[in-house]
């Protein structure tokens, strides 16, 4: 190699190395947190982060990837906050010890459909009927099972297109829990989980993320989908219909602050210290059947740099004057944590410690 080439190479290398090192030195001062996961929590985090960063020196990146990814990346430490609509399973908790499931807010799920002419009405649907739709036994919109719940409504004779999530999703988790808790045959076959083996329904579509569900339903007449409440603005502007669901007491309710709070109040006393509990199919005449805690899945042991920043952010998030303030909750259709649950979450956040050694 000639002398000139050697000098050129060394200079280039020095330039690159200098940029890299100076870059990291400058940025070492700022802590960065990565939040990834539930597409249902994504709009809320996007409202929180800009406001939080006004007063705090921290860089928070948000991503909408699905609850499954959120849990997995929180476990492996790639993300500091794994946003998930589903709590971790027992085998997962056993395998990956030292994980915290911290409720941040309470959300609910809508059942939306796109039936030309009927989108302004709220059709009445129940768990068994939905289980039938998603397993292919209820094929058309004018099926007797649906007609029975909706006397006097002119239902079209078109094939139902059920839309489900392809990614590992907390929405799938709570939806399939509703189906399992209300319909024994579903519980014995597909069961519940962030991902299930959906029965093969001809023409059924898989979509990615809540936004994908909205778009698929919007574009497909006679389709039906389960969509998180924080996308209500989107479903409204897409003119999708919203179903009234049958709860445990046999009443048909729509998700709103009153019905969700009614369900929470029934269940909050039963919530254990690790806060992993299903709020699905809560008793009570006013209770909406599909509600859930929105979790931040966090590892107890965090690198020293990020531990305190993470704790501060999470505490702000669950505080009624911070992230749980009404203007945030109303913007995404969530309900704030009841005081008792907030205290439990607070205790869990205190468990976050810098990793020793």
């Amino acid at each position: 190699m000639s002398f000139r080439t050697g000098v050129a190479c060394t200079a280039a290398f020095a330039l690159v190395a200098g940029t890299v090192l100076s870059g990291s030195a400058a940025m070492a001062a700022k802590v960065s947190l990565l939040e990834t996961g539930s597409s249902l929590l994504y709009p809320l985090f996007n409202l929180w982060v800009p406001d939080y960063q006004k007063n705090h020196e921290v860089q928070i990146t948000t991503q909408s990837t699905g609850s499954g990814t959120g849990i997995a990346q929180a476990i492996s430490g790639i993300a500091q906050i794994g946003a998930s609509d589903a709590y971790m399973s027992n085998p997962q908790m056993k395998k990956d010890k030292g994980m915290l499931n911290i409720p941040l807010a309470i959300s609910s799920q809508m059942i939306n459909y796109n039936i030309p002419g009927l989108n302004k009405q709220h059709l009445k649907l129940s768990g068994p009927v939905l289980a039938g739709i998603y397993s292919g036994t209820v094929k058309n919109w004018d099926d007797p099972a649906i007609a029975k719940l909706n006397p006097g409504v002119k239902l079209p004779h078109n094939q139902i297109v059920p839309v489900h999530r392809t990614d590992g999703s907390g929405d799938t988790f709570i939806f399939t829990q509703y189906l399992s808790f209300s319909t024994p045959s579903w519980s014995n076959s597909a069961g519940y989980g962030t991902t299930v083996s959906w029965p093969a329904v001809q023409g059924g579509i898989g979509a990615n993320g809540n936004p994908g569900m909205v778009n698929a339903t919007k574009g497909t007449p006679y389709s039906i989908a389960y969509i998180g409440i924080s996308f209500k603005n989107a479903t409204d502007s897409a003119n999708l219909g919203e179903a009234a669901l049958e709860n445990k007491d046999g009443k048909f309710v729509l998700p709103d602050a009153a019905t969700v709070s009614a369900a929470v109040n029934q269940m909050s006393a039963k919530t254990p210290a690790d806060e992993r509990i299903s709020l699905i199919f809560a008793p009570g005449p006013q209770s909406y059947p599909i509600i859930n805690y929105e979790y931040a899945i966090v590892k107890e042991q965090q690198p020293a740099q990020t531990a305190s920043a993470l704790k501060a952010f999470l505490k702000w998030g669950i505080s009624p004057t911070g992230g749980n303030a009404s203007h945030y909750m109303n913007a995404v259709g969530f309900v704030a944590l009841p005081k008792a649950i907030q205290e439990l979450s607070d205790k869990q956040i205190d468990k976050i410690k810098p990793a020793t050694g």
Binding site: T65, G66, G68, T69, I71, A72, S89, N90, P91, Q92, K95, D96, Q159, V161, H164, T166, D167, G168, G191, Y192, G193, T194, T195, V196, S197, W198, P199, A200, V201, Q202, G203, G204, I205, G206, A207, N208, N215, A216, G219, T220, S223
Partner: protein, 359 residues
């Protein structure tokens, strides 16, 4: 002065042979050593390429081995992709830990991949050959370069942008106009065109998008081959009274058959590996086979992307290893297809391996 004797009967040969054919004062053992050292050095740097490919295949094979053993041969023949009950405790079957109810079968993926690729070829080859014929014969040389470039840029468009266009524009168009039209016309005659016209996400849309990506390859190759046909051949056909079209179609085109087949194989290889565009328009079918061309499908490459985070939920890790098995199968299929393509091209002499001496 050294006399330079060059062996003129030698075609361009490995460095060693040329240097040995040139008897020159400077040839010495030291010179030979320098040559070897440089060649070895070059060869080892060049070795990074095969090493990385081998690393990928080896990694997949090793990582997927437990899944291969667990899934067996029935893996390819069943339509049951089931991750099992992820919220129950793992059970042990035949020495492997899995979630209860976990059962993996990817027939629908294999069918989806094959059907979408074949349909894409069926769409792309006639259109590509037709365009190539027109470009080679009816468009004059200057304009030809520009139009060809314009059409070839179709292949340069990133897959995700094609997926974006397909999702935002093509699917609504197909679902509202073309598909209902087809079901009400050809649909009564040919069954696979009939049936519910679907949501626009499905087999035909995926194939269409794939076809768009591979057409330029076919057009460019066939056009070049047609242009390279010797003028006397064309002239003699015309002299015998053939029309221009008959000349091209009956005389010139058959000579390009070998090149066309080689290009088709390469296009096949590209279509098999396409991920993003298909992911956004295929509908992501799970555990069922399409009944008509409008039904949703899933391809292997798109499935891996859409299922990876679900698979990460499996604490036993079997789901992720099964995805690695799918990736391995995909890798092996594309290796075979590409190898076949090269073999065809080489054997049928469309491919120059030895450059000739400049004359």
């Amino acid at each position: 002065m050294a006399l330079l004797e060059v062996d003129e009967s030698a075609t361009y040969a490995p460095l060693g042979r040329v240097t040995s054919n040139v008897r020159c004062v400077q040839q010495s053992l030291e010179y030979k050593f320098q040559t070897m050292k440089f060649r070895t050095w070059l060869a080892s740097i060049a070795g990074v390429l095969p090493a990385s490919l081998m690393a990928v295949v080896l990694f997949l094979a090793v990582y997927a081995w437990p899944a291969i053993r667990f899934n067996g041969v029935r893996f390819a023949f069943e339509n049951t992709w089931n991750l099992g009950n992820l919220y129950a405790d793992p059970i042990t079957i035949a020495g492997t830990q899995i979630q209860p109810g976990a059962h993996y079968g990817i027939l629908f993926l294999i069918v989806g991949t094959l059907l979408s690729t074949l349909l894409a070829l069926l769409l792309a080859v006639p259109v590509g050959v037709g365009a190539a014929m027109f470009l080679a014969e009816k468009v004059d040389a200057r304009l030809r370069t520009w139009i060809s470039l314009f059409v070839e840029l179709l292949a340069a468009i990133p897959s995700v942008v094609l997926g974006l266009w397909g999702y935002a524009v093509l699917i609504p168009f197909l679902a509202h106009y073309l598909f209902p039209l087809l079901t009400h016309t050809i649909g009564y005659v040919i069954p696979i065109f009939g049936g519910p016209s679907g949501s626009g996400y499905g087999l035909f849309t995926s194939s269409f998008v794939l076809a768009m990506m591979i057409v330029p390859l076919i057009t460019a190759t066939v056009r070049d081959a047609l242009v390279a046909q010797p003028a006397p051949l064309r002239e003699s056909a015309l002299a015998l009274g053939a029309t221009g079209f008959e000349t091209t179609y009956h005389v010139l085109l058959p000579n390009t058959r070998k090149v066309l087949i080689g290009a088709t194989f390469l296009a096949l290889g590209r279509a098999l590996g396409e991920t993003m565009a298909v992911l956004m328009v295929s509908g992501n079918a799970l555990n069922y086979l399409p009944h008509n061309i409008y039904d949703p499908i899933s391809t292997m490459a798109a499935f891996i992307v859409s299922q990876l985070d679900s698979a990460l939920q499996d604490p036993t890790g079997m789901a992720v290893r099964t995805l690695a098995e799918i990736a391995l199968i995909l890798c092996i299929i594309s290796i075979i297809v590409n190898a076949l393509a090269r073999l065809v091209l080489q054997l049928w002499s469309g491919y120059a391996q030895r450059p000739r001496l400049a004359v």
